[in-house]
């Protein structure tokens, strides 16, 4: 709902839901963080072809809409999915859009929203501080800058110095350093991709994940306060608890509405990795609102859960730790709100004298 999907999309969503429910229990998520690879989950996702949802049919994919992919990403986040589905979806779409081959293995976009590595004489040099880097990833897909133009370079993992790290939630991240590395494949310069367009797209993916995780946190909280009894009644009967739950619902709904609006906006543009003023505003809005909500929702959900929510075994923490790291990735609410403020001011400054009246509203209601 909310994302306008086609009917066949619903079948894919249902398949994915069953698959996540079967293979990605809270126990699986915790063990994955402790080092037990969720092989069944990973295999099932590849077999179902989910990472190809955004790849056009002629390139061997599903040819799904942006809405379908974002819906999958949101649903996966609701399971704290212990597999890099979102990353591979994005990497495969980037490959397809740059006319490079896509295959059925895991791939990641090695990019963190910072400056792109440079291409000189066919070789890549540069540092990506915080790239997703799941174990078993076969291909690194790197947007690189060739005198300002974006090209896509594909590498094997042994092409770079890689320092493995973990996000707050134990998701694999890495510092990736290329020194005059020769790509396996290299696209031509791409008119319809820009550094900022890629950054925006990835920021929207994180906002969408935050929205999906917060829905789950809302659900966990509602279930918990209905069951847990204190002073002879369910916690949910206390007005103080009811008001916290209402605030969780509100922030979560707001983030979802902003993400859905941005996906609709982006879907109306032919170039999802290009940047346009309209998509900037919508995507920045989504990332700001989702990242702000992440703080509020995690605080309130933990408060409602008492000590139980602080335990490793209870699933809430997998979601709160994820949204705490996702809100920082590809630009926090502080970064994107500054971008909005500057963009609005710039538009006001460039309006003809006498044309500024009502201009801010024009931008807001666009």
């Amino acid at each position: 709902m909310g994302f306008e999907m086609e009917q066949t999309d619903q079948l894919i969503m249902d398949t994915a839901h069953r698959l996540f429910a079967d293979h990605c229990s809270a126990g699986v998520v915790n063990s994955a963080e402790m080092g037990t690879e969720p092989t069944k989950l990973m295999q099932a996702i590849l077999e179902a072809g989910l990472p190809l949802a955004w790849v056009p049919e002629e390139a061997g994919g599903v040819g799904g809409s942006l809405a379908l992919g974002f819906n999958l990403i949101r649903q996966a986040a609701g399971f704290a999915l212990a597999a890099p589905l979102a990353e591979t979806l994005v990497a495969n779409r980037v490959l397809a859009d740059s006319k490079l081959a896509v295959d059925e293995s895991w791939a990641v976009l090695v990019s963190d929203g910072g400056a792109l590595p440079m291409l000189t004489d066919g070789k890549v040099t540069g540092l990506v501080e915080n790239a997703p880097m799941p174990p078993g990833v076969a291909r690194l897909v790197a947007p690189v800058s060739d005198q300002g133009a974006v090209r896509i370079a594909v590498f094997a993992p042994d092409s770079a110095e890689i320092e493995h790290r973990e996000s707050l939630a134990g998701e694999p991240r890495a510092r990736v350093h290329w020194k005059e590395a020769l790509p396996l494949q290299l696209s031509s310069a791409l008119d319809d991709m820009s550094e900022d367009g890629l950054r925006q797209f990835c920021a929207l993916v994180r906002a969408c994940q935050i929205a999906g995780a917060m829905e789950k946190m809302n659900e966990l909280t509602v279930t918990y306060v209905k069951e847990r009894q204190q002073f002879g009644r369910a916690l949910g009967k206390f007005q103080a608890i009811q008001h916290m739950v209402a605030d969780i619902a509100g922030e979560s709904a707001l983030a979802n509405a902003a993400v859905e609006q941005a996906v609709r906006e982006l879907s109306a543009h032919p170039r999802p990795f290009g940047d346009s003023a309209d998509s900037l505003l919508s995507i920045a809005t989504a990332k700001v609102v989702a990242s702000e909500a992440a703080g509020t929702v995690s605080r309130l959900a933990h408060q409602c859960h008492g000590a139980m929510g602080f335990s490793y075994e209870y699933p809430l923490q997998q979601y709160s730790r994820r949204i705490w790291s996702w809100r920082e990735e590809y630009g926090s609410e502080f970064y994107w709100s500054e971008r909005i403020g500057l963009a609005v001011a710039e538009e006001l400054q460039s309006s003809a004298p006498g044309q500024t009246e009502g201009r801010v509203w024009d931008i807001v209601s666009r």
Binding site: M1, G250, L254, A258, T285, E338, I340, G341
Partner: protein, 387 residues
């Protein structure tokens, strides 16, 4: 296995006619401001009273737009009405006189009034010539509205009403008030039974209306006494004893409109104009964050409008919009203070200072009127099965 909690905010269908209407209204308002026909005010739907301006809007066909043509309407969609109200709000136009009648009383009369009422009153409301006040709250009844004490007794040919209504916005310029009264003895087991709504002409013998000055310095709300006021049989709105159900569905309509997030937009707009030349760093982030939140709130509010248009009754979604939106309208003022301190009364300074000070002095009411945020949170919690 618990159900996923997902609130639904679909994209409204905004066709060319909606966009055209928006442009027309916008152009009209810019021209009016340019000609100095009004001075933009903050919280204009609750503070800017100008019956002449309301009549101008009526003449253009911008009031009662969703109603049937035979009753003076245009048979346009709720979205057409939505964009008209948005444009009026962000321009700070003096729209308070007709606001309640256009938003609430008109639709109530359309749904529950007699044919005669519809034929005589609705065209006048749509023309911006007839204004209606809301008579719900009383000295002893606020959030607990079912406890109202105003009493209507059956008499020969009609009803006799006695009681006091409090806080009725704009009643001093209204010709009518919709009055919620008890028509049968209160039954503590069925507190919502026995309530009835009446349409009472405010020039009836026995009615007195007294203005109450608010903390921002204006007399916009009122205390109204009804002393054995006679109204005929056909002044009953809907069914005798069925008033509670009517007002709760009425309130759902009033909860999610753009006036629940845009009451202070006019001051944010002016703040951007002040800051644009030197916008940078922290200030850009603070002001940009407000734009982000408004855009997200607007997506929610438009989503509820789309649901209403589909004939759904999204009570929880509407309450979410009002709870988040009204708190945000207040926040805008608090956040702007960082860059523009607010110390003096409205009139000491330029237009921007006027709007800032007036916004600060008016904002406590945002989270009270139309059902307090605590009451809204109760509705949301009930929607999630906690009550």
């Amino acid at each position: 296995m618990s159900e996923t909690i997902r609130f639904n905010f679909p994209a409204p269908v905004i066709d060319d006619s909606v966009n055209r209407l928006r442009r027309e209204v916008r152009a009209f308002l810019h021209e009016e401001i340019r000609r100095g026909s009004f001075r933009p005010v903050t919280d204009c739907w609750c503070s800017g009273i100008d019956p002449d301006f309301s009549r101008k809007l009526g003449q253009r066909g911008w009031l009662g737009v969703t109603w049937p043509k035979q009753y003076g309407g245009q048979e346009l969609s709720a979205l057409h009405r939505y964009v008209i109200t948005e444009e009026l709000l962000v321009a700070g136009a003096p729209v308070h006189a007709h606001w309640i009648a256009d938003r609430q009383s008109g639709p109530l009369i359309l749904a529950t009034g007699t044919e005669e009422m519809k034929r005589t009153l609705l065209p006048r409301i749509a023309a911006g010539e007839c204004f209606v006040a809301l008579g719900l709250s009383e000295p002893e009844s606020g959030s607990d509205l079912a406890s109202v004490r105003t009493r209507a007794h059956k008499v020969q040919g009609g009803w006799q009403i006695t009681g006091t209504k409090l806080w009725s916005s704009g009643a001093q310029i209204c010709q009518y008030m919709t009055v919620l009264a008890r028509t049968s003895e209160r039954d503590d087991k069925n507190r919502h039974e026995g309530l009835t709504q009446f349409l009472v002409p405010l020039d009836s013998p026995g009615v007195s209306v007294r203005g109450i000055r608010d903390m921002s310095g204006v007399e916009h709300f009122n205390e109204s006494h009804f002393e054995k006021v006679f109204v005929p049989e056909n002044a009953v709105l809907g069914s005798v004893g069925g008033g509670w159900k009517q007002i709760t569905s009425e309130l759902a309509l009033e909860r999610s409109g753009p006036e629940r997030l845009l009451s202070t937009f006019v001051v944010l707009e002016k703040a951007f104009l002040q800051a644009a030349g030197s916008m940078a760093g922290h200030q850009a982030a603070v002001m940009g964050a407000m734009v982000a939140r408004i855009r997200a709130l607007r997506a929610m509010s438009l989503g509820v409008a789309a649901l209403l248009e589909q004939g759904q009754y999204p009570e929880v979604e509407a309450s979410l919009v009002k709870d988040l939106g009204t708190r945000f309208e207040q926040d805008i003022v608090e956040r702007l203070r960082e860059f523009w301190p607010i110390q003096l009364k409205q009139s000491y300074g330029d237009e921007f200072h006027y709007l800032l000070a007036d916004s600060l002095l008016r904002q406590p009411s945002f989270t009270l009127r139309g059902g307090t945020n605590e009451v809204l949170k109760g509705i949301i919690a009930r929607g999630m099965g906690l009550r």
